[in-house]
Symmetry: C2
Subunit: 465 residues, 2 copies
């Protein structure tokens, strides 16, 4: 088959100028200095491409024009929220148009219906703040909540610390406005808690990482403000005892947080915060109960009995939310603390929770074999771990070993009946492992759906597929 | 285009005999007496067709052979769990093969991972019982839980009474084995609480009503046993006050049950159970808190304050679970109680919860205009209502008026930004209204996906589409 002639630079300039002319001034930008800042996301991929332009639309109608133009001209579009992807989901490809939703940040809270209608560029923290003004709460809380966007959260089905009790992003998405690759604007769902009318298109778009459509509005479920939590901190001389404690707790109770830090993480955090953490502990759990009223205190007492029976080295309980918050801050500080040791490759593997100890042991062995430091934090109650692989990007050999460990950890998770990504998405960094996890039949079906929705393949090429 | 010749009866006999020969004896049945019992589901559609055969496979491999044969020969397949659909989702079409999963009822509870791996024909109550043996709980609780199957629950994304706090079926489906129309066997998800690897194919199949594939196994999330609830019963002189109470409660607290019965329902239940319900009340709420330990009692006390402030006529509170259960039994008895007044057309419309009073008022007006009795029960905390339209199927004129009311109630729900089905599915009875709710773009996209997955259109033709 003869290939069509590759358009020259001049033709491409004309093409992009044609798009700019269809949109209000300032929507399409091609200033090279500005383009540079849209090449990478938080995965900081050294192989990131350079976009030919960035579009910063302000409405679904503008997004529709952009995508109609892209499909008609087979131009790759990389959708981008706040650029906080850890798996390269919004890393630019050469010659693409980056479609940033950063200017679409409306937020309207309806306290009676208990929903928020938001633009995709709104930050998670901005939504939490808007909800709190009405005594309401948007639970999903990725560690990046202060600088990640709701659109990105929906695109990756983001999680966080409260998921162990309150679920992940998909559980809070009641409605979406989505622009398809051909520019069609679709409204799915709405402010209805239960709705099973027709195929679950809404849920298909959640977690689709910009490959099926671009979100232009979301209707999100809110809950009443979270009751004040009580907190329990437990340290363990062995990782396996901490895992046993996790299983024992989750079999009986529903904690609102159940976080794990290994020895390397504890020491990195202690280096940074100097709060008196036990540097000799092999594992530490940070557990919260938000049962209403006095019940939170009695629930952490029950948890104290359980971790004591399993053999915790030290147990500290507090019903004072501020005192408890200091330990949550310590847990949230884990990534920046470990980052002080070097550049991080941030994993996101998950396993069925009884396999947590095997995963953590295996990660240690992978670190040792590859001679790289790997600190492990985990949303332990969900079996979702973040091994943090430390390396010096200037050191080619160490970088190669870190990258090998990154892949070996995913291989291990798959062997343990786990997942390569619990909450960050596949993006570009993990797509090589996706077929090993989900198998050829699910890959083929995913491609059938992708082709049905985006026949030109313009939406986020290189992500997932 | 010349049409292909219609196969004669003899050809069809040969075709079905060919299927039977590929399967163990007893899987394919064509005894007319048995076929008769597979024509209808609980929607009891007088226009139900007659299947040419029923297949009762026992494995994914047998289901795969059946569907491969069906796609190759363009034979319609109507999947069926326990036949409890209220919207005609498993009503037979003439000449079809009914594929019943009733023999696939394995159940294995893994108490450490806190999942159950089940066959699609397992009844919801059987799963609850198996989980309870390990101190665990499968929350989704449709009123039909004693005689509905898990496969059907997944196919309709079924709900129930506890959804107001614990969510619907999709929130508990971690993994599915699905056979596609062409016989391909697909495994999606697994025993992992958080997993965002690849497109959300799993969620697309939940609620697909047998139109995209046949489930052959499900991996379901279990929770620790529900704490013993406290119960509050409140009666109201006006429906609007009951609705106000619902909004006020849900804005502050998370009850585990929040059910509504109108005056017609209260009286029907009282006629049947003689438990001393207030026949003069315009509305009654049955509310439970399952906060752990003593907190349930204090949570219902808070609820008592709220309903008192809104103007409840009478409030009764009990922390005794058995005493509370009597009122839950009364609520669950609503459908059989109203059924004693005549044949029911059972609605399932939902609205954003602030619009509940408008919906209930509107349903009353529709009942009056069409001169039919309509009793209303509701999962009020979810905005999901079941208007029960009473009629005598022997009375042609009344039946016509009841059917008109059925449609008018869906029109009303759509006008109120609601849904035609909160938890029963579209099936065959409601598909005429689906385009009005979701619009032409979502219909077109749904058809694109249906065609991508089932190009021959063999799976459950006439349902949804």
């Amino acid at each position: 088959m003869a290939s069509s002639p590759v358009p020259g630079e001049h033709d491409m300039d004309l093409l992009f100028a044609g798009l700019a002319a269809q949109l209000p001034p300032g929507v399409v930008i091609d200033d090279p200095d500005i383009l540079e800042s849209y090449r990478r996301d938080r995965a900081d991929d050294p192989k990131a491409g350079t976009p030919r332009a960035v579009a910063r639309p302000t409405s679904a109608e503008e997004v529709s024009r952009i995508l109609r133009w892209a499909s008609a001209n087979a131009v790759a579009v990389v959708p981008r929220g706040a650029g906080s992807s850890l798996s390269g989901g919004s890393t630019a490809v050469d010659g693409c148009l980056v479609l940033s939703t950063e200017r679409m940040r409306a937020v309207a809270v309806d306290p009676v219906t208990r929903v928020a209608v938001v633009g995709p560029g709104l930050l998670n923290a901005e939504l939490k703040a808007a909800a709190a003004e009405h005594g309401l709460w948007y639970p999903p809380d990725p560690s990046s909540y202060e600088f990640c966007s709701i659109g990105g959260n929906i695109a990756t089905n983001a999680g966080g610390l409260c998921c162990v009790k309150y679920g992940v992003t998909t559980d809070y998405v009641l409605g979406l406005e989505v622009v398809l690759a051909d520019g069609e604007v679709l409204r799915l769902g709405g402010p209805r808690i239960k709705d099973t009318a027709g195929l679950s298109l809404l849920k298909l778009f959640v977690g689709s990482e910009g490959t099926l459509g671009v979100f232009t509005e979301a209707t999100l479920r809110l809950l009443p403000a979270q009751p004040k939590p009580s907190t329990l901190i437990a340290t363990f001389g062995e990782v396996r005892k901490a895992s046993e404690a996790v299983l024992a707790i989750c079999g009986k109770l529903r904690p609102a947080m159940l976080e794990f830090m290994d020895r390397a993480t504890i020491n990195a955090v202690e280096d940074m915060l100097r709060m008196g953490l036990d540097r000799q502990a092999e594992a530490m759990l940070v557990i919260q109960s938000d049962a209403p009223g006095e019940a939170a205190g009695s629930e952490v007492e029950l948890i104290a009995e359980i971790v004591g029976a399993v053999g915790a080295a030290e147990v500290f309980v507090t019903t004072d939310p501020h005192e408890g918050e200091a330990f949550v801050v310590a847990r949230r500080a884990a990534i920046p603390a470990v980052e002080r040791l070097g550049h991080l490759l941030l994993e996101d593997v998950g396993v069925p929770i009884p396999k947590l100890p095997d995963l953590i042991d295996g990660v240690r062995a992978i670190g040792a074999a590859n001679e790289v430091t790997i600190a492990v934090i985990a949303h332990a109650g969900d079996g979702n771990t973040h091994p943090l692989i430390v390396h010096d990007p200037e050191d080619e050999d160490e970088t190669r070993r870190a990258e090998r460990a990154f892949g070996e950890i995913m291989d291990l998770a798959i062997r343990l009946d786990g997942t390569i990504t619990g909450e960050h998405g596949v993006g570009r960094l993990k797509k090589g492992w996706l077929p090993d996890q989900i198998g050829p039949a699910a890959m083929a079906l995913s491609r059938r759906i992708k082709t049905a929705l985006d026949p030109e393949g313009v939406l986020n090429p290189g992500a997932i597929f």
